[in-house]
């Protein structure tokens, strides 16, 4: 939406814009590349992909807890409706990839992991933007 607000420093430290979010985004992108290579090489999802999805989910759940703690402390996102929508979507993504990749032990299973791991960083960034709208 408004991309310029994310660059303003007026907002208090955002709970969803710390090292944890960065780690989750990096894991997700690395996993997407790994899964893409597997898909191109006609390989079904391997253990690294499933382990990566598990680690990613743990990171996202930790991020959710951080956000909920901040909410408990009285902080509020700029756009609550969109924020909780993105948060709910975010934590659903790795389990969705896991289940569908298990059902599809072909190159397309790796394709599913790759696609979901490309969507995850986008949703994470949108989550950060919806928190910071009020800060501008």
């Amino acid at each position: 939406m408004n991309d310029t607000v994310s660059t303003t420093s007026a907002a208090a430290a955002s709970p969803v814009d710390g090292p944890l979010a960065t780690v989750a985004i990096v894991i997700s992108l690395a996993l997407a590349v790994w899964a893409l290579v597997a898909a191109v090489r006609h390989r079904p999802p391997d253990r690294i992909q499933f382990a990566g999805l598990a680690v990613l989910e743990v990171a996202l759940l930790a991020l959710t807890v951080t956000a909920l703690v901040a909410l408990g402390g009285g902080e509020r996102p700029g756009e609550p409706g969109a924020f909780f929508g993105y948060l709910a979507t975010l934590v659903c993504l790795p389990p969705l990839a896991w289940v569908l990749a298990r059902m599809e032990p072909t190159r397309w299973g790796s394709g599913i992991v790759c696609a979901i791991c490309l969507v995850t960083p986008v949703v994470a960034v949108r989550l950060q933007q919806t928190w910071e709208v009020l800060g501008g």
Binding site: G81, A82, F84, G85, T89, A97, L100, E104, G111, V122
Partner: protein, 140 residues
């Protein structure tokens, strides 16, 4: 690409690339449902048309995913209907949202041809229709 799959597997909409398509549909179903649900619950009066449209889009994504996943004859018909409605919807709302900004004061999934979602809402029904055509029953 599909050199090792049998004729039966090629016809099923819920195998191989179809499962990837279903995955993207489910992502959009979750995203659109949670967003529309919260908008309707918290600020419905601000833009009822836009939020109802988002809810409709969410419903169509869910039904399309189920149709593709169920695969059978009925599933294909349901998926075909959903993809068609989606394509008409994203094109119609896209044109309307550009022609008359006041019609959709708040963004929907389909506003500006889905530009807020990387144009995936525009590409998705086309891929869905293409996939249904690729897996059609009659021998190619």
């Amino acid at each position: 690409m599909a050199d090792t799959t049998t004729a039966h597997e090629q016809r099923a909409t819920n195998r191989g690339p179809g499962r990837l398509l279903i995955a993207v549909y489910i992502v959009f179903a979750i995203a659109a449902t949670s967003r529309a649900g919260l908008q309707i619950a918290t600020k419905f009066d601000e833009a009822p048309v836009a939020y109802l449209l988002s809810a409709l889009a969410a419903l169509i994504y869910i039904v399309a995913a189920v149709g593709l996943a169920r695969a059978g004859h009925t599933g294909r018909r349901v998926a075909l209907a959903c993809c068609t409605v989606e394509l008409v919807g994203v094109l119609g709302v896209g044109v309307l949202s550009i022609a008359d900004k006041e019609l959709f004061p708040d963004e929907t999934v389909w506003s500006d041809f889905g530009s807020g979602y990387g144009y995936v809402p525009l590409v998705l029904p086309v891929l869905g229709l293409f996939w249904l055509w690729r897996t059609r029953r009659d021998p190619a």
